[in-house]
Amino acid sequence: MRALANVFRELAGLFVDDGALALAIVAIVVLAGIMAALMPDAPLAAGAVLLFGCLGVLLSNAVRAGRR
């Protein structure tokens, strides 16, 4: 059981290192998904939210980690 838990922990570790970064990425994707659903005539708006959201999240997370 402990070995299985370790495997799952290792697998989760492939994708999540900093919880705040992972949560922010998921939030951006959800936001982009909502935009895509609410504005089907302007799908590029969802793309812009996704792209610039990810870039913003990366920049702010790295800068905050540097100042910690």
Partner: protein
């Protein structure tokens, strides 16, 4: 083949560079096991890890073909964003001097010392433990390679170029490791991680957008633009995250 060159080359390069990083890390542990306990447990553990990886790929491949393309792109895109931006963040913080660089020589020394400590405590089970360490290293690092290859392919007919890139990197590292019998400490791990993080993040944005139905301007070529933007933002992040050196006044 539905993919074009704008997708094939970045995918192949990303798979090659990412696999290079993972293969170097796996090689360090396999070499540590071989140094302490000989090539038999190291080789058997690595072989077992490779066989489990092959089973995973064989089992997972046909299942992925049954998933609707948009759903597959969305799920893979999100996983790529999580995986790629995690690598990119780490590479940025290492470049900025916030966290220390990964050192293969140090990893080799730590693994060797841990195995020797295990030998001191329990000699009888050491071959088994050493083989397990080798198995785990190949399986875990290999899982990352498998994920990257599958993610970069994402239903666009790029499984062969991405696999070729990954296989070339693994063979290259295994060949060099077999010749030099030392951890490859001079591989610029952080630069590779930085480049791969940028490419995986760019692919992540692209696939996630495709999964949400976004018609990216320039179609597949948009990935190159995304990679350029991630590169520019990462450069800015390094400059902003870098800690000022404290000057010592006389």
């Amino acid at each position: 083949m539905t993919a074009n060159l704008a997708l094939i080359w970045p995918a192949m390069m990303a798979a090659f560079l990412a696999s290079l990083v993972e293969a170097v890390e796996a090689l360090t542990i396999v070499l540590a096991v071989a140094t302490v306990r000989g090539w038999r447990p190291a080789g058997l553990g690595a072989l077992a890890g490779f066989m489990v990886l092959t089973l995973i790929v064989v089992a997972l491949g046909p299942l992925l073909a049954r998933v609707p393309l948009h759903l597959l792109q969305l799920v893979i895109g999100i996983l790529l964003l999580l995986f790629g931006m995690r690598w990119l963040r780490k590479a940025i913080l290492r470049s900025a001097g916030v966290i220390p660089l990964h050192d293969e020589a140090m990893a080799f020394a730590a693994e060797t010392s841990e195995l020797r400590e295990q030998a001191r405590r329990n000699e009888a089970r050491l071959d088994w433990l050493a083989g397990l360490a080798s198995f785990k290293a190949v399986l875990l690092e290999g899982l990352e390679v498998v994920f990257i290859v599958i993610a970069l392919s994402a239903g666009r007919g790029m499984l062969i170029p991405a696999s070729a890139g990954a296989l070339a990197a693994c063979l290259l590292v295994a060949g060099i490791g077999f010749i030099v019998h030392r951890p490859l400490a001079r591989v610029p791990e952080n630069t590779l991680k930085f480049a791969v993080g940028i490419m995986l993040s760019a692919f992540g944005v692209f696939w996630t957008g495709e999964g949400l139905g976004v018609p990216w301007p320039g179609a597949d070529l948009a990935i190159v633009g995304f990679a350029a933007m991630f590169l520019a933002v990462s450069g800015a992040a390094i400059a902003l995250a870098r800690r000022p050196k404290v000057e010592v006044l006389p």
